[in-house]
């Protein structure tokens, strides 16, 4: 593998990893703070992709679609939390598994009813459709760089939110000791709703920005959900930093694995997870 190819695969790894991070961050926060296992997280990713498809053709611009879509997704997250999830924070994990599995079915069908079962493409916006030349023959798509950029921006925003704002402080306090936080006057219910809606929003935005590259198709949430789980397991529940590092690690292993060891590509990630589990059964950065 020559330098240019290596560089391309490296960029792909980072881009894939950052996308996974968007999903995993929401998932790990929801796990870590509310203790809820959510199998339907992949459905939010799918929701984002389908929103991108219909909104971009409706509004004529992908950028606008992402903004509107993000708002819609966050609103949806608030509604879902209020209606269902908040009643399940104290329930058994088994009940949560069942609930969210039922939701997967419901979301799939609703998607089928609203958007149909065909595969769709979302065009890359004119502005971002160029490619950056690397060598005489190889160029790297600007859009993929854009994707990574958006993810990095959101990651920084998340970091800033959690460590530098009052809201973030309250979130951390609530995660650390719920009862204590409540007695200090922190509105735990609101915090939980915000965290949940944030998780949904991040997943949906991930789906939206990925749509031009990954296409929009039924059941697209399932595969990404598994990767997401692997990232959270490796990174440690509740740790956003762990999710980032794990996501990049998974991105690297998966991308280079597919190129260097194609027969074993599918299994490599799980072998990585198994190795981490032997060493640290609760993830690398468990809180």
């Amino acid at each position: 593998m020559d330098l240019a190819n290596f560089f391309i695969q490296l960029l792909n790894s980072v881009q894939y990893g950052l996308l996974l991070f968007m999903l995993a961050a929401g998932l790990t926060l929801i796990f870590g703070i509310m203790g809820v296992v959510n199998l339907a997280h992949g459905s939010f990713y799918m929701l984002g992709a389908y929103l991108a498809w219909s909104l971009s053709s409706l509004l004529g611009s992908l950028g606008l679609a992402i903004i509107v879509g993000a708002l819609l997704a966050v609103a949806f997250g608030f509604a879902l939390e209020w209606l269902l999830f908040r009643h399940f924070y104290k329930r058994d994990h088994l009940d949560q598994v069942l609930l969210t599995f039922g939701l997967i079915y419901i979301f799939e069908e609703l998607r089928s009813i609203v958007w149909g079962d065909d595969v769709h493409g979302v065009p890359i916006p004119e502005l971002l459709s160029a490619s950056v030349p690397l060598t005489e023959n190889l160029a790297y798509p600007v859009y993929r760089l854009f994707m990574s950029g958006v993810c990095i921006a959101l990651a920084l925003g998340l970091y800033g939110l959690i460590s530098k704002t009052r809201l973030g402080m309250k979130i951390r306090a609530g995660a650390f000791n719920r009862d204590m936080a409540e007695s200090l006057g922190i509105n735990i219910k609101l915090i939980h709703a915000v965290v949940f809606a944030l998780g949904v929003g991040l997943a949906a935005v991930a789906g939206m920005i990925a749509a031009p590259i990954a296409s929009v198709y039924p059941n697209m949430g399932a595969q990404v959900l598994i990767m997401c789980f692997v990232v959270v397991v490796i990174g440690g529940i509740g740790s956003v930093r762990g999710a980032l590092i794990a996501a990049l690690l998974v991105g690297l292993v998966d991308t280079f694995g597919k190129v260097l060891l194609p027969q074993m590509a599918g299994m490599l990630i799980y072998m990585l997870m198994a190795a981490v589990l032997l060493w640290k059964p609760e993830g690398l950065f468990k809180q």
């Binding site: 796990f31 296992v37 009940d95 069942l98 609930l99 039922g102 397991v233 027969q263 599918g266």
Partner: protein, 342 residues
């Protein structure tokens, strides 16, 4: 995670009577039923074995596995590999071999997975099962996404004598019924054995079990392996019955269906698993066969009804059908842990 829940381990009189009647009905059915329904019931009984195997893990030991179907499918694949192209292989060695294959896989994966707890356990079981799924899905040599055909039913002959022929749908039905009964009786005995009591103790309070000197890792691994082996038995029967095996049978959806069967019927006593498997399969049929309402084909959107049903079930009846029975008074029977039992 362990909510100190009691399981309905001692079955109320009424339930016992109902089960006995059900057994009688099952034995009598082939004399009146059509081939189609005989096959459908055979499949339901296979699912019942699968559900019982999960109940051991989930209901008794408290380990929620989202990857149990991997062991179900693996045995089916083992059968497919062992069945030659030209003539049927013997039942008497392919069955134990397939069950052993599943058990071995469960042992190996269990070794990694059982060291985790709570949410982690759920996620890693799912992840490893997906790994197995992709192993078969991505490899043409293992059948790929199309799966494999099993050309013959296993041959039950022993040194020339043919005790029964699995090609007959009726025979297959009774063979499966027999298997289901053996598994049920075995698991019920296990439930009341020291091993079973220890598993229940682990479910309720693993920390105290360790403080009392129990090596809980070993117990959980044993339960995981045994459950995987029994799932393999079900998978072998499925492969025999349908003649076809594909990666979907190992997937996450299949595992989730198993969880629902166990919950639907009521966990921890194996009778619930049987009831739940039958009820779930029946429900699937009902939803898929829904009629047209105006221009809308209700049956086509069965996933929506199933999803709604699951959400409603978990919200209002989390202990399943037998839980409802218990709640609405088939007598206030003591649950679990008595030294005097059935």
């Amino acid at each position: 995670m362990s909510a100190q829940k009691s399981n309905l381990e001692i079955l109320p009189r009424g339930v016992q009577v109902t089960l006995a009647l059900g057994l009688v009905a099952l034995v009598a059915f082939p004399f009146t039923g059509t081939d189609y329904y005989i096959q459908m019931l055979t499949r339901m009984m296979i699912m019942a074995i699968f559900a019982m195997s999960l109940d051991l893990l989930q209901g008794v030991t408290g380990l929620v596995s989202l990857g149990h179907a991997a062991y179900f499918g693996l045995a089916g694949y083992a059968l497919a590999f062992m069945m030659p192209q030209g003539e049927p292989a013997s039942l008497w060695w392919t069955l134990p071999a397939a069950v052993l294959a599943s058990g071995l896989a469960a042992l190996v994966i269990g070794f990694f997975v059982v060291r985790t707890h709570g949410i982690y356990f759920i996620m890693v079981t799912m992840a490893f099962a997906q790994m197995v799924f992709y192993l078969f899905f991505d490899n043409r040599a293992l059948g790929g996404s199309d799966g494999l055909y099993i050309n013959f039913k296993p041959d039950a002959s022993v040194a020339g004598w043919v005790p029964f022929d699995l090609d007959s749908k009726r025979t297959m039905y009774y063979f499966t019924l027999g298997a289901m009964l053996v598994v049920y009786v075995f698991l019920r005995r296990l439930l009341w054995s020291p091993f079973g009591r220890a598993l229940a103790g682990i479910r309720v309070n693993e920390h105290r079990m360790r403080a009392m000197g129990f090596g809980t890792f070993g117990y959980k691994l044993a339960a995981f392996t045994l459950a995987g082996s029994l799932a393999g038995l079900a998978g072998y029967l499925w492969g025999t019955q349908t003649g076809y095996i594909n990666p979907e049978l190992m997937g996450f959806q299949m595992s989730a269906h198993a969880i629902m069967m166990v919950i639907l019927g009521g966990m921890g006593n194996f009778a619930g698993a049987i009831v739940g498997a039958f009820a779930f399969e029946y429900l699937l049929h009902v939803f898929k066969d829904l009629p047209q309402l105006g221009s809308v084909n209700l049956g086509k959107h069965w996933q929506l009804w199933m999803g709604l049903f699951i959400v409603l079930l978990v919200t209002f009846a989390p202990r399943g059908l037998l839980g409802l029975v218990e709640r609405f008074g088939m007598g206030k029977e003591k649950t679990g842990g008595e030294s005097h039992h059935e």
